[in-house]
């Protein structure tokens, strides 16, 4: 049915909100990144000075370097484990629903909650290391969270724990949609179960891998809460991510223009990851 005035009128508040508060604000932040803003937004043109300053800052280098380490490990480990969990669950086990719920429940919790739990679990003074010592394993050492070079791996551990159940659910949906005839044919040919997974089933899961990588990459770029709760960016600045950098420079260091520039680069990174995926998904939807 052609839209009359009423539907258009009722849709317009949402359209307006999205246009202003998403796209208008993006333009505003983009402009600020070329301005002389410090404590408050200012509108004098500064050219590319803020980006030059940003690229010269060691804090930014550390943040971006951390994002690469964190992002690639997080995506890689979550996908390998998620697929592994899905395959385990797919073995016609009893109490399948219980196991699925247990692997997935961290997704329902706030990163601030789980970050708090992991913060003390990983703390050598009270957590795992202490427990192992009490059990008599005196040489056991696990103090990564207190060590600048290793603390970022603690963020990886907690983030993987939180989201691996979600990746499992994605793969499980994929596994249940695999062409049964091909699997049966391979079985008749005498292929072993692991061979069937490796050569028949997993190659059919291509689209799930793509979805999982895109979603996890976008979550990695946006990660903020977990770092704040787990390490608060520390020790020192060793677990800063671009999201932490943006907040610090915009709101506590009075370099709003540099903070805006970092936010713009985060958006660009998200766009590079998400836009090709969204466009191909929408094209697929149109062709169906």
């Amino acid at each position: 049915m052609r839209a009359g005035l009423l539907p258009k009128l009722l849709l317009s508040p949402s359209v307006l909100l999205v246009l202003v508060c998403v796209y208008g604000y993006i333009m505003f932040t983009l402009y600020l990144s070329f301005s002389t803003s410090t404590l408050m937004p200012a509108y004098d043109w500064a050219g590319t000075a803020n980006y030059e300053r940003l690229f010269g800052l060691e804090n930014w280098d550390v943040s971006v370097g951390n994002l690469w380490v964190f992002g690639s490990l997080y995506i890689g480990v979550a996908i390998v484990l998620g697929l592994g969990f899905a395959i385990l669950i797919d073995q016609r086990i009893r109490a399948e629903g219980v196991f699925r719920s247990v692997f997935l429940y961290p997704m329902a919790l706030s990163f601030i909650v789980t970050g708090t739990a992991w913060k003390w679990l990983l703390d050598p003074g009270v957590g795992l290391e202490r427990t192992m010592h009490d059990l008599g394993w005196d040489s056991f050492a696990f103090g990564w969270i207190k060590q600048g070079e290793l603390a970022i791996y603690c963020v990886v551990i907690a983030a993987v724990w939180q989201t691996v159940g979600f990746v499992m659910a994605l793969f499980l949906a994929g596994l249940r949609g695999v062409d049964a005839e091909q699997v049966n044919a391979a079985r008749v040919d005498g292929a072993r179960p692991w061979q069937i997974y490796l050569h028949v089933i997993i190659p059919q899961l291509g689209p799930v891998f793509v979805s999982a990588v895109v979603i996890l990459a976008h979550m990695a770029i946006k990660s903020y809460d977990l770092v704040i709760a787990l390490t608060n960016g520390g020790p020192g600045r060793s677990t800063w991510l671009p999201s932490v950098f943006m907040y610090q420079y915009s709101f506590t260091r009075n370099e709003m223009a540099v903070g805006a520039a970092s936010a713009v680069l985060m958006l660009v990174a998200i766009g590079l990851v998400v836009l090709p995926y969204l466009m191909s998904e929408m094209r697929k939807a149109k062709n169906v």
Binding site: R2, V22, T29, I112, M266
Partner: protein, 287 residues
Amino acid sequence: MSERSAFAPQRVLLYALLVFLAMLFLLPVYVMVANSFKPLDEIRAGDLMALPVQWTVEPWLAAWSTAQIGVQPTGLRPYFLNSFLLVVPAVIISTLIGALNGYILTQFRFRGAAPLFAAMLFSVFIPFQIVLIPMAKTLGLLGLAGTVKGLVFVNVVYGIGFTTLFFRNYYAAFPPELVRSARMDGAGFFGVLFHILLPNSAPIIIVTVIWQFTNIWNEFLFGASFSDYSSYPLTVALNNLVNSSTGIKEYNVHFAGAFIAAIPTLVVYVLSGKYFVRGLMAGSVKG
């Protein structure tokens, strides 16, 4: 793959592995709960993994009503209330808007509908850092800075993309003959919405409400950016409790506080995990 006896060695190994993994996944919550019932001395002296020897509810009482949050010894209670005052209107408003948008976008044809939906869809993915500065300024201009109302507004605005997506995909698959016959019977714009679509929307309404509730309850960045002592949501208050403690670290109080913050979404998950998972999957397979 093939049917085997439940006691075949491979099956035993499979279950052993699954049970081990399940315990690993439950460990952080176990640690949280077990230590929230211990006196502080017991945590300092011993094992984080052990059950309490001397059970106490003191940490819970402290976390709820006397712990230092920032400068005030209020406990988490007022902030728990803030989160409720934030979540209830934000969830209701964003769900209603999503239903309305989904209806309009699927049942009416107009120019620019496709790019409009694409624009809404992408808004789901943006890193919110890109809107923090102008939103802070806007809330200031509207007189909503540092208020729960302001947070309601922000969470509604950035929830519209998701709720619209959910309802649009649901209504796109809605049997068109039902809508058509209602129109032939003379149902108008609201007649179709209230008598045909919404009464048949229970599953997607549940999915959307649970999704929005979980997301907004757990939200931290907006809360940390746009609220003050009087309007902190629970996540921000909890983070203050854990990270700003000067002097002795009261682990037991932190654990109790963390669990208090986890209870509402955990209860919703246990009661209706199926719908939560559906929301997750719907949110991930877009387009």
